[in-house]
């Protein structure tokens, strides 16, 4: 049995999510290959080869792959699929976009957001916004799986796998074409893998206030910034800050929720954090039920005090 892991990368580095997905793959088989789909992605492929335990790295490059277009990625993977019993992708927004397309091409179901590998055909995954865990056994010949990265530890370095070029990645370029991208480059850590996350909610009231209150605290802690759906919908924070059932799932060492009520959809994205802090003026807010440390109070008072206390 061999497993293919489709890398999450930026053409230069492979993200932590890839190293975590390799850990999940290793529990299925020692024969784990990593596929890097990109454009000008040799550096990322070399980096993937250094991850511990990787057998070989496959590198596919085209313009469409550079933008991770689902049609193009599926084309590459479909050609490689006969050599693998399982195809694993980290459940990032890009992975969620192309992985089900691959599954359907192979005429199998996708097993979404796996948090535990029980055996080669049995997996645990959250359903109903994480309010229930489902253990499923798949009778499909090939397993197509997205892995929830926060549930697995990353493999370390120490590998020396060779990089092999593979073809494909043009189909679909005719039908779906890349137009533009607005990606904000930030010096802060990436939300999905950060050790500390500071999130703001509807209470902030405006984008300026979010900027003025949440970001300096995050910077003082070297943290990533997150937000509730309400804060994103209202335009206080960009869409990719959304933590929750239908946004990003995070599990940092420390999660600080400021002016967030703790709706189940929000909790779904952060309740596996090691330590949760909540700052909310309503003592009955549901966020306090999951918080290790709560401060009941107005964030306008508490956050400045916190800045001072942190020195």
């Amino acid at each position: 049995m061999a497993v293919l892991v489709i890398a999450d990368h930026d053409n230069t580095i492979v993200r932590d999510t890839t190293a975590k997905t390799i850990t999940a793959a290793m529990s299925l088989s020692p024969d784990v290959d990593v596929l890097v789909c990109g454009s000008g992605a040799q550096a990322a492929a070399d980096a993937a080869g250094k991850l511990a335990g990787v057998r070989k790295v496959l590198l596919a490059e085209s313009d469409a792959l550079g933008h991770q277009l689902a049609e193009a990625v599926t084309d590459v993977v479909f050609a490689l699929a006969p050599g693998y019993d399982a195809i694993l992708t980290p459940a990032t927004s890009s992975g969620k976009n192309f992985s089900p397309r691959i599954a359907a091409k192979l005429d199998v179901n996708q097993i979404t957001d796996v948090i535990e590998v029980v055996s080669a055909d049995t997996f645990v995954r959250p359903i109903y916004a994480g309010n229930a865990l489902e253990t499923v056994q798949s009778s499909d010949a090939k397993k197509v799986i997205t892995i929830r990265p926060t549930a697995f530890k990353p493999v370390g370095d120490g590998g020396s796998a060779a990089v092999e070029k593979v073809g494909g990645g043009t189909a679909g370029a005719r039908e779906a074409t890349f137009v533009s991208e607005e990606v904000v480059k930030s010096d802060r850590p990436e939300l999905a893998g950060a050790k500390i996350v500071v999130s703001g909610g509807r209470a902030l009231g405006s984008a300026e206030e979010f900027h003025k209150v949440i970001e300096p605290l995050a910077d003082k802690l070297g943290a990533a910034v997150g937000a509730s759906r309400a804060a994103v919908d209202a335009g206080y924070a960009p869409n990719d800050y959304q933590v929750g059932q239908t946004g990003k799932v995070v599990a940092p060492d420390l999660y600080i929720a400021i002016g967030i009520s703790g709706a189940i959809q929000h909790l779904a994205g952060m309740k596996d954090s090691k330590v949760i802090v909540a700052i909310n003026k309503d003592a009955d807010a549901p966020i306090f039920q999951v918080a290790d440390y709560g401060i009941v109070g107005d964030y306008k008072v508490v956050v400045p005090e916190l800045m001072t206390a942190l020195g």
Binding site: A104, T112, D113, Q245, L254, V275, I295, L306
Partner: protein
């Protein structure tokens, strides 16, 4: 041009979900059911395209129990034109849903499918992408903006790090994210009107699609509960505890 909108009946997003003691699933007896929120957004978008004159007909389709008729009626009251209900008493897995939708599309020939990105019960986030694959159509998932012009659509997508805009040739499958629009509440007159709109009743067998389960649910359990925490008096105490007790600073 015709738009197809698949809508699913799911547990209402406000309901606190309870796992059944026998671990066979979650308790759905006597709980409020609603249209999957993302499908409301998809329906709203299709209806807006019709109001703009871009689209001529909005057809909604649901696969589920007989009560999913109510879900279709909700979409009809929002402004969709007619419905198709494919009844099934068992849960239909995403791949089989996609196959049924493909069969419906073979009969209906829509130029566009707009659907939700994710059902909030199974949290699969799969059917749209699967349907696009089976049809060999382009896909644009997690849409926050759709502009249709001629035989293509420009779709802005929510991705990690920001937004991406794709141009897809039609026919195509688009899945809706939260920021695409804010769905309307149906007015009373429109709810009355919806009662007269047609819903075609079908079964999976009518389409010759195998809906038997390929994923066997061995058990459904409750996630581990977090131990209760404490309230601290102020920021100074918080920082002290985070440093000494929790060891995260």
């Amino acid at each position: 041009m015709k738009v197809l909108v698949p809508v699913k009946r799911v547990i209402d997003y406000n309901v606190k979900v309870r796992v059944k003691p026998d671990q066979t699933g979650v308790d759905l007896a006597n709980v409020k059911m609603s249209m999957n929120p993302f499908d409301e957004i998809a329906t709203e978008e299709a209806v807006r395209l019709k109001e703009k004159g871009v689209v001529t007909e909005v057809v909604v389709v649901s696969i589920g129990p007989a009560q999913a008729q109510e879900t279709i009626r909700t979409a009809l009251a929002m402004g969709a034109d007619r419905g198709i209900l494919i009844t099934s008493d068992t849960d239909v897995e995403p791949l089989a849903v996609a196959k049924l939708l493909k069969a419906v599309i073979a009969e209906e020939s829509p130029s566009l499918v707009i659907m939700g990105k994710q059902s909030i019960d199974g949290d699969n986030n799969a059917v749209g992408q699967m349907l696009a694959a089976l049809l060999d159509w382009p896909q644009a998932t997690f849409a926050s903006k759709i502009e249709v012009s001629g035989d293509s659509a420009s779709v802005t997508r929510e991705i990690d790090g920001g937004l991406q805009t794709l141009s897809v040739s039609l026919p195509a499958v688009i899945t809706a994210d939260l920021r695409l629009n804010e769905p309307r509440y149906a007015s009373l007159p429109n709810i009355m009107k919806a009662k007269k709109k047609e819903i075609a009743m079908k079964t999976a067998a009518d389409y010759g699609v195998d809906v038997s389960a390929k994923l066997k649910v061995l058990k459904v359990t409750e996630p581990p509960k977090r131990a209760g925490g404490i309230k601290v008096a102020d920021a100074a105490e918080l920082v002290m505890k985070l440093k000494t007790e929790a060891g995260v600073l």
